[in-house]
Subunit: 529 residues, 2 copies
Amino acid sequence: MASFSRIENFQVKTNQAFLDKAAALEPVLNKRVIRPERLITVEENPYHEAVVHEAAEMSELPKMSFGKGDKVIFDFGDHQVGYVSFTAVPVGSHYDAPAYLRMKFAEIPSELLEDSEDYDGWLSRSWIQEDTLHLDILPSAVHLPRRYAFRYMQIEVLDTSPKYSLTLRNIYCDYVSAVEMNVVEPLNSDDELLNRMDRVSIKTLMDCMQSVFEDGVKRDRRLWLGDLRLQARANYETFRNYDMVKRCLYLFAGMTFEDGRIGACFFHEPDLRVDDTYLMDYALFFGPTLCDYYEASGDLETLKELYPQAMEQIDICWDTMLDDRKIVIDKGDEFWCFLDWGEGLNKQAGAQAVLIYTMRYAIRMANVLGDQERIRKTEEQMEILKAAALENFWDEKQKLFVSGENRQVSWATQIWMILARVFDKEKSRELILHTMQVNPRIRMVTPYMYHHYMDALIRCGEDELALEEMKRYWGEMILDGADTFWELYNPYNKHESPYGSSMVNSYCHAWSCTPTYLLRKFYRKNGKI
Amino acid sequence: MASFSRIENFQVKTNQAFLDKAAALEPVLNKRVIRPERLITVEENPYHEAVVHEAAEMSELPKMSFGKGDKVIFDFGDHQVGYVSFTAVPVGSHYDAPAYLRMKFAEIPSELLEDSEDYDGWLSRSWIQEDTLHLDILPSAVHLPRRYAFRYMQIEVLDTSPKYSLTLRNIYCDYVSAVEMNVVEPLNSDDELLNRMDRVSIKTLMDCMQSVFEDGVKRDRRLWLGDLRLQARANYETFRNYDMVKRCLYLFAGMTFEDGRIGACFFHEPDLRVDDTYLMDYALFFGPTLCDYYEASGDLETLKELYPQAMEQIDICWDTMLDDRKIVIDKGDEFWCFLDWGEGLNKQAGAQAVLIYTMRYAIRMANVLGDQERIRKTEEQMEILKAAALENFWDEKQKLFVSGENRQVSWATQIWMILARVFDKEKSRELILHTMQVNPRIRMVTPYMYHHYMDALIRCGEDELALEEMKRYWGEMILDGADTFWELYNPYNKHESPYGSSMVNSYCHAWSCTPTYLLRKFYRKNGKI
């Protein structure tokens, strides 16, 4: 199932003053030189898992030379985002032919076992981090022009010539990020796994904080509104870089669909441009993201300036996305609402819940700005939507919410109904515990959806359970070797990909970075870590 | 059979003043912008030949867009050496993934039908002119950093994304050469095929005149002494760029083997360095090349300065390469003497002939410089070598020269014995005609060897026959589609390669450029064209 939208003759509405404001907030990236820590080999074990062996210390590299067919893998010790340089020096006779290299960059070791020739997913194969290079003049100080996301770099010598081979020297990565790790206090809990989860969360977020909040530094490499909302929350607890959130809010507000709808995703290269993708939940999240930003930063001016557009997103949904019963019209297989990846998830009830959820934030903002008319109207609308949700999606027999014509039961639907507060806290608690017991087959796939599951548990007062589930999910990812948190993680199917192949999966994906937010905000408050 | 030499701890002798002289003569390259003339497709016909079809005029390009899997081939109308630029502009939605391209450059159409994955020759696969490229930001003005030799450029879109495709604009090649075609008068004979042979010769030479006389602009791309000798001869009849010959002579003289032997090949990048390859015939040709240079340019100073080293090459061979019978010691399968590519050619008798041939040029130079002692000594040595050649290599029964322990009969041996003037003109004529009748199975493979065949025919007074043979060989190459003359051409086996695969064959190879020299020098003198 390929999920994307494409609009012919896409027309946009531009607010140049907003775009200028966003452009003025473009960060200067910090650079840090990172050198590889060791040479490794990667093997597949009988369980089809990648196993790393240390091959040599870096101090042995100058003594090694590489000829046709030789491979060497550098382990940079942690996940990196940046620009790699190295020097190739020939040994033997004078080089009499170019050196021909293939470089592979891998966030996790198993990527090195995959053959890109086998790729047949629906996302572009151009995301696979592999490049070939001819060096016509040797020695050659190579500065690879592309930014890579990786911990492991493999150099394969496709050929030198029978007369010479290569030595490799001075390999390093110019790591780039808009923020620096040393501004963040470590968590210092007694639980080492929680400390690691916190640290990996922050590293994930840091790697993705570039010119904008990128969703993933290997793939997509751009600003998505759904991801931004979670990144911003983690950022308030850690780097507290308010300007980057502000920049991103002004980007989304500065160029929209012609009818005022905010795009799901925004391009910042080569110039600023909204994508022709509308996702109902993502557009609605503009409001909660703005509200969070105001509450964290106290920046009233921005709240005032962007509030109308946040409200407009709700009004558009109210006017165009509902049927006579006041429930969201199911657009089925179209790419119209995200919620989660995962085969076959019906989005109708979840979209309804997101709309209700968003309205609560709208009221919070309206309260700050004293917009009584909006408060009244929104409260009224919320009640109508909640009633319609109960009427149409609640299955009293199953004690679960259903979605779509086929009355599908999914985790996502229950979780969003809880976050929408369709039920009170106690009834929500019953629902989540019942959901866990039933364990609907339409499960959660992404850490993005898992975040909302945690959020729902906390809403239900199940903080301890949330902590347990976090350990079972993000903790398990760490035990599976994550240096940064992954875009996709299904403990029941670790090779799952919504893209038709795991080769383009992203292993440093910002929507996975929320454990630091959850831990620091909810658990520190409870004095439990 | 892999033919190369590699010396551990290779030591050289340097004459820095000579190298400085060579460096000062480095040419400034002329640049000219060349644009493709049309779009083509290439197909294989049932005879495994590449057939070109015109696909579109260039004016249609702006209307065309290319997505995943699409290929486009640009025909630049003639052979080019240079740097290619183009602009890739996305169409459709905003590009949401890098564009991933593979470029192939082909001197002849059949190269586009070959799959580089199948290459398993012994020369480096790095010579195959193929590169991949990720464009992370679009539109992108691409300036490919490598120099290519080609007439045809194929761009294959390995992927864009489902959301966009590419248009291609402003494609051009910055053609580079040290010389300009307009300084050469056209041949203007009545025979159109001869005019074309002359023009293709000159284009071949021009393309190979870069920082030095390169042997081939696709492969090797460096100075070989055997090639230089023929390039210089063609150059005296056409571009008359004496400085480039002088530069190359000083390079070879400026850095030699430690014992004074001149290398077969010289590198000029990244700095000046003789290769660790000694070929007896190539080293000896330093003398004839110097002699030709003096006779063409009148540069007595250079003759005086380099004459001792030319003599030294002969003395080294006299002292070290002969056995008690005064015949060259056969080094069998070692890479010790070139003469020609071709499986199984024995070099012993040919090497003997080249030594005798070289001595005649030594005497010519000694005459200019009044070196009576050298004249006396060389004449004496020549007679000894000729007598030994007749004694040991002449087979009276076959009326042919033989070579090696197995008394091999080859074209090359007869031709070099004729050029060595072991026989007088009339007896040489009988020999060449007899050779043509017998047609020894060890044939000629390269235009380099064919040149010496032409030279031998002319020596025998068979000018008309030489013209016929030239048409049959270089003329046939033109009918087979040569825009520049090829490194290898065996009319009996058109896919032959000494490298284990024709993929690394060079199709603009300067040792093939001598028809212009032969036509202009010998035939114009006879008033026959």
